[in-house]
Assembly symmetry: C2
Homo-oligomer: 346 residues x 2
């Protein structure tokens, strides 16, 4: 069967004060579309498998938010990390839990806070990836065909040979490039943005984890007997924090040799910056993205205004600014300075 | 005896959202000094007369705020206008009420929302004015020696001859001038800012009102029997709204010929604009006036930030802006555009 693992444990610190550690970005309707990013992620994956086959991995402190936002989700499908240990332990835990129910599972792993506009294409690509991993001991990572020389994303370097259908072998993963390098990537046509969306059989990822991060696999061996029992959370609290803190990219993707990609044009954005949010939101004729009600802009251009709990907002004379407010916190900041918000808000 | 009438009925519409019709400017600690403008006005006049001789004229809807802000004030000294009819009816009502108690009263009339820094000089000037009106059938209006060619204030043109001590006869009142004219006023040395502070005997103002605005005087005749009785407010509600809506300047000051002025350097500002507020507040080394707590500015210059009810505020990269928030309302606006705030906030 197909399973989906949605990773929803991030704290979204770059989006203060819209996103705060008590209620981070993935739970917020950042684009003003009426659904949180997590809800939109689940919505777009529902054609792939029933909600009982979806697993949300999040922090213990966000479980209530997930329950509230996904009322159809069985509570047992919400995996509550006692502590954030990056993505490798997160995926190891979800995989082991699924494996115990369904040793033949094919799994899609996805972040919870990205935007996908071309949902049909997205499902097509995922189905193709699932079909491929069903017949091969392979890991497929979805590649996004770049539309600009973006320096804010990591890249997937494909080999340029098609293996089966649209599937290409991955030559390497590349860190965020400088602008020159990014332009080269764009021109070459075989570099794709790394969206952090992975497809594999549970047996494949389990074997990879045991090979590349045995420390984590061994802790999962100890946790395994408690999974799907009343003892699970207590065991997890005791053992999960012992896992090495390591990303799945570093633990597996950059080291395994059975990595493939399917590149597609998904209208994807990681919404990782206020600038990306501005680019992807509905904008007025002056280029402003206004998310919230009772907000009036005068003489403003290319601003992103995200205010959810004010009765009346008037913003005048700003060009390329962020104006955000929530829960008694207010930010006014140039978009060009958004990388400093984290330090400002400490 | 000396009495003080503080006019506190304004709605402070230029200071949205710090000042809103439900809680306007005079009741706000606009400079972050720990006292509202009304409280500071009363504080600085207390050496002149006991609080029982002070009369606050305000709107019915602000009576509770006045009671709360001036706990020592007898409730009977709060005069509640059922409707705003400008300053002539306001002063006529207060005068009639005082006259009934003390027909020999000398009265100081003052706005409630101006700033006076040189309190000692202020009291000296008022005492001199009181002494003058005690012995003359005269109206004294306090003149502020101009320190700059201000185009935002009305001016008092003095005759240039001293009548007694510092008292000069007033030749005319001048509307807000253009810059050229204001420069001429400044050079001449006999033009003063009109602070709207008046001193007179109750008999003098009563006679002037009867002569220049008999319609208002006649309504006061009808109201008079009810004053200081349980029937006062009901009578006022019935009759006060019938008064012509006219300012004391237009009704009396510009028409009477017994007008005098004493000019002084009082460190006075009407605090009539956000710009004036910025000029008169404590400013940081970058020229920002920050009123409120938990507010951090980065790369900001000459901004006025007035936020009373946020837990955390970060403002970055603004030069010459107003940032104000209160009661679920937020304003970000260039100081140069502050004259439009009123229309923006409609």
């Amino acid at each position: 069967m197909i399973h989906v693992v949605v990773m929803a444990g991030g704290i979204g610190s770059r989006f203060w004060p819209m996103s705060v550690p008590e209620y981070p970005k993935q739970f917020i309707d950042v684009l003003g579309l009426g659904r949180s990013l997590l809800q939109m992620t689940v919505d777009r994956l529902l054609p792939l498998c029933p909600i009982g086959n979806m697993w949300i991995v999040t922090s213990e402190r966000y479980v209530d938010i997930v329950c509230e936002q996904l009322p159809g989700m069985p509570e047992g499908n919400i995996l509550a990390e006692p502590e954030a240990r990056n993505t490798a332990p997160c995926i190891a835990y979800a995989s082991r839990k699924i494996a115990k129910l369904d040793p033949e599972a094919k799994i899609v792993v996805t972040p919870s806070d990205a935007l996908v506009l071309n949902t049909t294409e997205y499902l097509t690509v995922l189905k193709e990836a699932i079909d491929f991993v069903a017949h091969n001991d392979a890991i497929v990572t979805v590649g996004i065909k770049p539309s600009r020389p973006e320096t804010g994303y990591g890249y997937i370097a494909a080999c340029g040979q098609r293996t089966m259908g649209a599937v290409e072998r991955v030559a390497a993963f590349k860190e965020k490039p400088d602008l020159e390098t990014a332009k080269g990537y764009l021109e070459s046509g075989s570099y794709y943005w790394n969206a952090g969306i992975f497809v594999w059989k549970v047996t494949t990822i389990e074997r990879s984890l045991r090979r590349y991060v045995p420390q984590i696999a061994e802790i999962m061996d100890q946790i395994a007997p408690s999974l799907h029992t009343l003892d699970e959370q207590a065991t997890l609290r005791r053992l999960f924090p012992l896992c090495d803190k390591i990303s799945i990219d570093y633990a597996v993707m950059e080291r395994a040799d059975n990595i493939y990609t399917i590149a597609a044009d998904l209208g994807w954005s990681d919404l990782g910056t206020w600038g990306a949010l501005l680019q992807n939101a509905t904008r007025d004729s002056s280029g402003n993205a206004v998310i919230g009600t009772n907000i009036n802009l005068h003489n403003c251009e290319d601003c992103v205004v995200h205010i959810s709990d004010m009765d009346r907002v008037i913003v005048e004379g700003l060009n390329n600014y962020i104006v955000a407010s929530k829960g008694g916190r207010l930010l006014v900041c140039r978009l060009s300075e958004e990388q400093h918000i984290k330090e400002f808000s400490l």
